[in-house]
Amino acid sequence: MSKVLDFLRSLGLTQLESKQPRRYVFEVSADRLREVIAGLIRVNENLYVSAISGVDYVSEGFIEVNYCLWVVDEKLMVILKVRVPRESPKIPTIYDLIPGALNSELEVYDLLGVVLEGNDRLRRGFLVPSEVASQGLFPLRKDFKV
């Protein structure tokens, strides 16, 4: 059996079902995220951050951030779903644990306004034009009007 999945299940995380093969989706709270990822690297260091994808659920009032990690030798994708309130979206950074998460963290901050606490390289204007950034708007939030 897979070491990574055994570890995640041993933490008592809620597993959500996924229709696609080789995708394992877990719910994690923001304050446990660093602990989970540090543990994952300890169990199997052959994993990389495939993407960090934020979705703004405006009517429910939260932003869901999907940490998609591909485990190279076990050939499976672990997806950690972190939900944070829209008003003050804050998640601790994982950039120091996995250096390859840098670009994805910068992007999530610039486009959705999720603050990755502890990442000192966050800045506006990484991707969005300055006139949008200077108004303090985040383009991928659902209340942003084109």
């Binding site: 969005v128 034009p129 949008v132 383009p139």
Partner: protein, 142 residues
């Protein structure tokens, strides 16, 4: 003002990508390779904007790149012409209406030749440039 006629024997191109998907760029590049060989018309790539006579713009003009497009155009010597290659450079194409796109190149600089297509074939790009040159033969000043 120098007559526009003088560049028709050997116009030098400046290729500028204002936010294209690379589709038009590789076709512009392909138009410069042995199969199409534009040096038959004296056309070649200029190493920098101060040597260029014709600017080839590809891609939807993003807000950040729009400023650079204007700056590059101002650096080119007179007489100068702009060719907009591909649907995105002409009108913003599929990206028109996005928050970071200004739409077509003619919003920023005057465009003398539109080459439609997504992307246009290398021959279509050559056709556009040759047509621009033959228009200059009429002696009209820019």
């Amino acid at each position: 003002m120098v007559s526009a006629k003088i560049i028709k024997y050997s116009p030098w191109l400046l290729h500028f990508n204002t936010g294209a998907c690379n589709g038009c760029d590789i076709e512009v590049l392909a138009a410069l390779t042995p199969y199409y060989d534009p040096e038959r018309f004296g056309v070649r790539l200029a190493p920098n904007p101060r040597h260029a006579d014709v600017m080839v713009v590809t891609g939807a003009v993003t807000k950040k790149a729009g400023e650079r497009l204007k700056r590059l155009y101002d650096q080119m010597p007179q007489p100068k012409f702009v060719v907009a290659v591909g649907a995105c450079a002409i009108s913003g194409g599929i990206f028109s209406g996005s928050y970071s796109v200004l739409s077509g190149a003619d919003k920023v600089v005057p465009v003398s030749m539109y080459v439609p297509g997504c992307p246009p074939r290398p021959e279509a790009i050559l056709y556009g440039i040759v047509k621009l040159l033959s228009k200059l033969d009429g002696g009209r000043d820019e």
